[in-house]
Amino acid sequence: MSLNSLWEYANPRKFIQTTDMVLPWVTVLAVGVLVTGLIWGFFFTPADYRQGATVKIIYIHVPGALMAINIWLMMLVTSLVWIVRRHHVSAMAARAAAPVGMVMTLIALITGAIWGQPMWGTWWAWDPRLTSFLILFLFYIGYMALWSAIENDDTAADLTSILCLVGSVFALLSRYAVNFWNQGLHQGASMSLDKEEHVADVFYYPLLVCIAGFVLLFISLVLLRTRTEIRARRMRVLLARARMG
């Protein structure tokens, strides 16, 4: 199969055909990697000498948090593709990704709270990171609400794309504003990858496997949801045509 151009896959029919083949494999792979990573992380790593067994929540928390941000970035890219090249599949992929991103943000927030309770003795603190994620969560909700509020698909795609663009700028601004507003109290950058020297290899490798599992899971979910979107759109076209007679 020659890959003449990436844009070939912007054709809905081509997209469905391709994902027919790809989707089962990606899904199986996602489940396999995720289960491997989680079992490895939960059962075959030692408890941290300081944090005890609670540290193991990083295998969900960190990948969830990474995905929350990266899914928004992916939506930004697909929105730009829609605005510039007007490929329907691109807009649909953005729409399909939003709920996944929202759930990832929620996972990051909830696991963070569960982790934070024994560690800092509080479920919630207005720490810059937590606050930024809460704001990101609000952006996801607004984006999804706008999608579902507009009936015409192309209009909705246009408006949400512009909202995604504008929202990205403001999300970034909010991040800096929040950092300025409350210069982090404590908070574990120690667990994230940019300070990997703080994380012993014994935790680090299973964490990488979990992150890969989350990425694969996201790809699988987005492909599935995009296919659903395409079929829903096809149904609407057919219904509209039936009404026209």
């Binding site: 054709n11 809905p12 759109r233 076209v237 509209a240």
Partner: protein
């Protein structure tokens, strides 16, 4: 020549309505669009006025020469008749509104709040707006709705005067305005056919 439309295809809500519409309209001429309800006359006029994009085809016309009047008149009920009219005159960079007041006989109403006008009077005010814009190409969507016979006569006179001054008008209407030398265009034959397989939007099918 005021406007030249070639092979225009228009759509509303992603569904093609009319296909391959072509016509030209010269200065001093009027073109009346006819066709059954829901066929896409309003969408055609909105596309020509630049409010929405055509699916394909060309519209050669000077954007700055057009003025559009749709179903809604854009009248503010809390402003008086003269304030409404003066506002639109200012937006289009004109000052003189006396001609518009005379043409549609709204001079006696000028200080009334527009909200107190009857439907027909409102419509007359909406049409008077066309005169204060000073633009040569009128694009009118059902201009005679809720007008009585006398007011339809006023409107026909206004169009006639406008054409004599070298203006042009593109009108979608169901009634006979009694204008001479007006071309008619029935849009029914241009109704979009069921799309060909393989066409991009059809990729969804």
């Amino acid at each position: 020549m005021m406007i030249n439309v070639t092979n225009l295809t228009i759509a509303r809500g992603g569904i093609k309505l009319l296909e391959g519409v072509s016509f030209t309209l010269a200065a001093g001429k009027a073109l009346v669009l006819r066709g059954p309800n829901g066929i896409g006359k309003t969408t055609l006029l909105r596309t020509i006025a630049g409010l929405q994009n055509p699916v394909s085809g060309q519209i050669e016309a000077d954007r700055e020469s057009m003025v559009y009047a749709g179903h809604a008149d854009g009248i503010k009920p809390t402003l008086s008749v003269i304030e409404n009219l003066k506002f639109w005159a200012q937006v289009f960079g004109n000052k003189d509104i006396s001609k518009a007041l005379d043409a549609f006989e709204i001079a006696p109403l000028v200080h009334q709040p527009a909200g107190e006008l009857s439907a027909g009077q409102k419509r007359r005010l909406g049409l008077a707006r066309l005169l204060v814009t000073g633009r040569p190409l009128w694009i009118l969507d059902e201009p005679t709705v809720s007008l009585d016979a006398a007011a339809v006569g006023m409107f026909a006179d206004a169009v006639r005067a406008h054409l004599e001054q070298g203006g042009a008008a593109l009108i979608a209407t169901h009634i006979d305005l009694g204008l001479d030398g007006v071309d008619q265009l029935d849009v029914a034959p241009y109704r979009a056919k069921a799309p060909e397989p393989g066409d991009f939007d059809e990729a969804f099918i």
